[in-house]
Symmetry: C2
Subunit: 367 residues, 2 copies
């Protein structure tokens, strides 16, 4: 599992002249192993070999031992014989792993997540080592998805679609945001047969700040719109999607807005291909809104997904990144009239050699 990801990481480390590294960012550890690890967990790298340190209670991790050039070191988790101390036991396990490491040369670290205690552990075992920052270096690698990752993401879009089908019916006059949400959540979790991590926005159009929010007890009123921006996380992999529903027959203004956002989304999607520049997609998508006479949305035009809900490349004004084949991208133009109504629609694509393949297929049409 995730052998390709580790090969890419090993190549990056080799090119950077780094023979040993400690991956403490939880998202790095999950990406390097393909395991939806509980925190805390670490991946130690030593000249081509990867060692996963994880709580013994997470039994899925034992599969990591059977991967090429991989080892799994469990540490004590829940016990009634001594205090529960995952960070302390993780540090002790790391001390033993690092004790057998080769000396000399820098140790790659992710300093925004590596704790002071764990760095002391490494430094005590390898007193002459200097830290070399790897912070954020895996992000461009993470942007390109493998078939293993796409399988999880595709299952996520199946569940996302189910959630939207339920929401379309649940949005009724007098229902509250939280009522719609619990209907969606129940449908997704019953289908999946387990707890699912889910997000993001679930709100009525008449909220004063109506771009995004978690569901509260705002009631759906006459002529309301309703934005459901829904992520379902499958085995640690995020999806994203947005549709807009209506309590009644949409007003003429809502029909106009909805139709225009459909066109804006189609336009933005048409810009996605390998080599396209993120900020240029963003610029053109915003220009499309302005050309239509609408206020330009204040949020990102889009973003990637993967082990987090917002992965590289962000489709935003400053981002000069090139879009890579194999990336999964979301695009989500919207129009918002605070306190009155709002429309946002979002689709996901896989960037292919020639353009983009649609991954999302929830119904975003007007009623």
């Amino acid at each position: 599992m995730h052998n390709q990801q580790r090969q890419r990481a090993a190549r990056l480390l080799h090119e950077a002249g780094i023979e040993r590294a400690l991956f403490s960012d939880h998202d790095s550890a999950r990406w390097l192993t393909g395991l939806n690890l509980p925190a805390p967990a670490l991946v130690w790298y030593d000249r081509g070999s990867f060692t996963l340190l994880a709580d013994e209670g997470f039994t899925d991790a034992s599969a990591f031992d059977t991967e090429p050039d991989c080892a799994h070191v469990p540490f004590v988790g829940y016990t009634i014989q001594q205090p529960i101390d995952a960070p302390g036991r993780l540090a002790e396990a790391l001390r033993q792993v690092v004790a057998s490491a080769s000396a000399g040369g820098p140790v790659g670290i992710e300093e925004k997540s590596l704790t002071f205690g764990l760095w002391q552990t490494v430094h005590n075992a390898l007193p002459s080592c200097e830290p070399a920052s790897l912070e954020g270096r895996l992000l461009p690698l993470r942007a390109v998805k493998t078939d293993e990752e796409l399988a999880r993401i595709r299952e996520g879009f199946r569940l996302v679609t189910l959630g939207h089908d339920v929401a379309r019916n649940a949005v009724q006059l007098g229902q509250r945001e939280i009522d719609v949400w619990t209907d969606v959540q129940t449908a997704v979790e019953r289908d999946a047969g387990r707890w699912m991590q889910m997000g993001n926005d679930c709100l009525v159009g008449h909220r004063p700040a109506n771009i995004g929010a978690a569901p509260l007890d705002y009631e759906i009123i006459a002529d309301d719109s309703f934005i459901l921006d829904l992520s379902v996380v499958v085995d640690g992999y995020w999806t994203d999607s947005c549709a807009t529903y209506y309590a009644d027959t949409p007003t003429a203004q809502q029909v106009e807005m909805h139709t225009f956002v459909e066109e804006a989304l189609a336009f933005a999607l048409s810009l996605i291909r390998p080599g396209a520049v993120a900020q240029e997609v963003d610029r053109q998508a915003r220009q499309f809104m302005a050309d239509g006479g609408y206020e330009v949305y204040p949020h990102h035009t889009g973003h990637g997904v993967g082990v987090t809900g917002h992965e590289a490349p962000r489709i935003v004004p400053y981002n000069e990144e090139l879009i890579q084949e194999g990336a999964v991208l979301l695009l989500e133009p919207g129009i918002y009239i605070p306190g009155v109504t709002g429309v946002r629609l979002e689709d996901a694509v896989l960037v292919t050699a020639n353009g983009a393949e649609l991954l999302s297929y929830h119904d975003k049409s007007l009623p």
Copy 2:
């Protein structure tokens, strides 16, 4: 909010001879402020004053500015004008706060959560400072609850009771664990009018490992028991509770087990008073099970709750802590026959001057 908590922490620091400290443990930061902060956030302490560093998007934090000897320093969160980098912006905000700190003396740290990057920030600003570990030092203070904390915990037990009422009806032949769970979750979230963090165990008695698990698609079968161990988290404060339900009329064995666990729970509760030793309560509760001819449960006898689901004091064999007035304690004896049936019952008490006041009031009776 949480002025008492900060006074206790300041006293502890004063007695330890520490004039400056950085609280990086997210649970410490939430306890010191009373705010259900998003991560990352920090609390910096400098000779009696507390400065909260939190994402500007978390607007509740502005109230911290009005507290005595407190300041709130927001850092940039979501933006489309530059990369989202909460750890980096937090470090920059910390650099500015620490730059005005007095020099000299150790700086208290929590080394299991403090990142290497943030420690470097402190050390660069105060090159002569040495770290002094405060790891875990707030835990005994956290054990004793204030009225503010009890208000949240009491609201949690109201919602927990609602959840159990729903579960008692939802446990029916042919329903699955996840069906019962989604009924409970929906009822609690609709009543609260918002998303709620919830746990812990929701499982049928015929599971091979039937002590605890998240709900899956195991179906409730004839003569099944069903354990719902339910926590609802209100504004960052945990509760806990457990009851056992039955698909049919309970079998004679189940009635015997259930009745005995009721007695074991009542016995354990009777041991709770200020000054009681945690390990002695544990020993006597286990002895009660053994004296009844039952195998002694392999888990803790009990634990505290607060900003986490498992707070001090743990009621376990090694723990020599004294139980303090003001602690909120859970006790949860159980009997488990793997693959056949299981019973666990759990109640919560507030430790009072003379004994204990029951905080939980969900129905744990046989049908």
